[in-house]
Symmetry: C2
Subunit: 341 residues, 2 copies
């Protein structure tokens, strides 16, 4: 049996995406890592075989990936992980941007992908039962990222647990006034993550016997600017929070900007924790929940490529681990706000 | 004659991408802007018509976009601009990631897009004459972004002029020791931009009668980490620079991180200017050269969609304007380094 790219990754102790990047000579791979990958590939006599995929249909040699937006950091990372695995198997990627509220309905009506892809990956697009049925009817293998399903395999993180952990981190530091920067309910780009993260935040507060103040739950639109505005709003409420959990790092970085512009410091005046471990997070010293964005795409792509084997994978849900990364924007409450409380 | 999306954009005083986002109900459009767009669309009786495109061939209703990488900010922005225009014309986007040094050659050998797209946009992929001939032989309309061509229309910025302006900004503040954080020569992801920006930097120094010190020209790999390492290297040279021009904002932000970690301040100890106007730049107070990333994609997509009209557009080069944005990371030399010089 020929070695797979996964075997090389395991032997070199790196991700499949890193193996793919190293073997294709792409940048952002440290020379020592590249050497380790090449050694592993040689030891295993690994040869990248564009026809090695098991996706039986294989007529189009194309995988369709559907995202709500092209521009958000999270999507680019998931897609890059998926692309690496898909390219290693000799497939092209047809990337489709859902674009807006009516996008999913229109997509399912017109099925622009039909007959053009051998498999379909939907990122962060929750499906109603009848929508799943429409997709299943096309008999194109489907894998979901970020959304659980009773019909299709999916790759997710435990958003509820991770958000509860982020909130608990703040509570354990001694904060009693913890705010949430989250998502507009009913916003056009639907996703389960904001709802699940809000749930985790609420669970942790309730478990600690703390009240849920509506004025401490502010939407930030998952953007820098939205996070900045949400923090500004939190500074105007009756009981300003001493700590903030932002449901994305982009919003957390926006919140830090508002604090700085207001002459406040993190964590002295307000602690801030994010969610993602965005490339910029270490540069901000941002404490955050790291989620394995690239691996989400890699694993989903592998599930899709394996979908052509005899046994259909069925509604497997693969849950990847998140990790609390403590940096410098969280600490005990001790600033001017705390003295006011 | 029915109003085009461009007419709506002109009347509302916003970009085509904003009109597209507003009409599709996407986020990141201010409510007041959305209202203005809807007013303009109503006034002009604009109806988004998926069949309004003039791309005559129109068999596949798909535009292929080829990028060197999925993950870099610059590419995601150009692609999002292109996608908005392409979607408004009723086309899908087939996004192809070139992936590495042999990628372009392999792409031109196998032409995976042939018969699958009605038009092709190549972003930041310089072509040799014979490579252009291969593409022209497919009779698929081609538009280039970031690269000038004698055969295909292209959309570019004046990298030489903009880089000279960035350097001149530092010289005018009184700096005499200005370093460059740029690109590895011979790096696998080829692009003209790094070479042109280096040229602009050198022109400005020469015009000021200043020497070009090899130790002041350091590669930063167009990444955060690379920029951080390049700045660290610049702090070890015989004559440390009092000012740095980084050829991308991501590298500039990495450089700022190294300065902060070293107990140095920008601009007091070292001035830093970037290139891009990345989403994060305002949050860092980063002085930079803003380039119209979204518009690059929009204009290129429009050229491609117009390519089906009777008159072939020929090798038009559209040059979009850049703009110096002065924020807080540049100032006169006055810190501890300057005292040493």
């Amino acid at each position: 049996v020929a070695a797979s790219i996964g075997d090389v990754a395991a032997r070199a102790g790196v991700s499949v995406a890193t193996v793919s990047r190293a073997l294709r000579g792409l940048p952002n791979v440290a020379p020592s890592t590249r050497a380790r990958v090449l050694e592993a590939a040689e030891a295993l006599r690994y040869v990248a075989d564009p026809h090695a995929s098991r996706l039986a249909a294989g007529r189009t040699r194309t995988i369709g990936i559907v995202v709500p937006l092209f521009t958000q950091w999270y999507y680019t990372q998931v897609v890059s992980g998926a692309e690496a695995v898909v390219a290693s198997a000799g497939y092209d990627v047809l990337l489709y941007c859902m674009g807006g509220d009516s996008g999913l309905a229109r997509f399912l009506q017109t099925l622009p992908f039909r007959k053009r892809v051998d498999g379909l990956m939907l990122i962060d697009l929750p499906l109603a039962d009848e929508q799943e049925a429409v997709l299943a009817g096309t008999s194109t293998p489907v894998v979901l990222v970020g959304v659980r399903s009773r019909r299709f395999p999916s790759v997710v993180v435990d958003n509820v647990g991770a958000a509860a952990q982020a909130t608990q981190h703040l509570l354990n530091l001694g904060h009693e006034h913890v705010a949430l920067i989250g998502h507009e309910p009913g916003s056009v780009v639907q996703s389960v993550a904001p709802i699940e993260r809000q749930q985790g935040y609420r669970q942790a507060l309730k478990a600690a016997g703390l009240p849920l103040l509506p004025e401490h739950d502010v939407p930030g639109g998952f953007s820098l600017q939205g996070g900045a505005e949400a923090m500004a709003q939190l500074l105007t409420v009756g009981t300003p929070p001493t700590a903030v959990f932002a449901e994305s790092d982009e919003m957390a970085i926006g919140a830090l900007k508002t604090l700085r512009d207001s002459g406040l410091r993190a964590p002295e005046d307000v602690s801030v924790i994010g969610f993602d471990d965005h490339d910029m997070a270490p540069f901000m010293g941002l404490t955050t929940i790291a989620q394995p964005v690239v691996a989400l795409g890699e694993v989903a792509a592998q599930l899709l490529i394996d979908a052509g084997t005899a046994e259909p994978p069925g509604p497997t849900t693969v849950e990847l681990a998140t990790k609390l990364r403590v940096r410098t924007t969280t600490g005990p409450p001790r600033g001017r706000w705390d003295a006011l409380h």
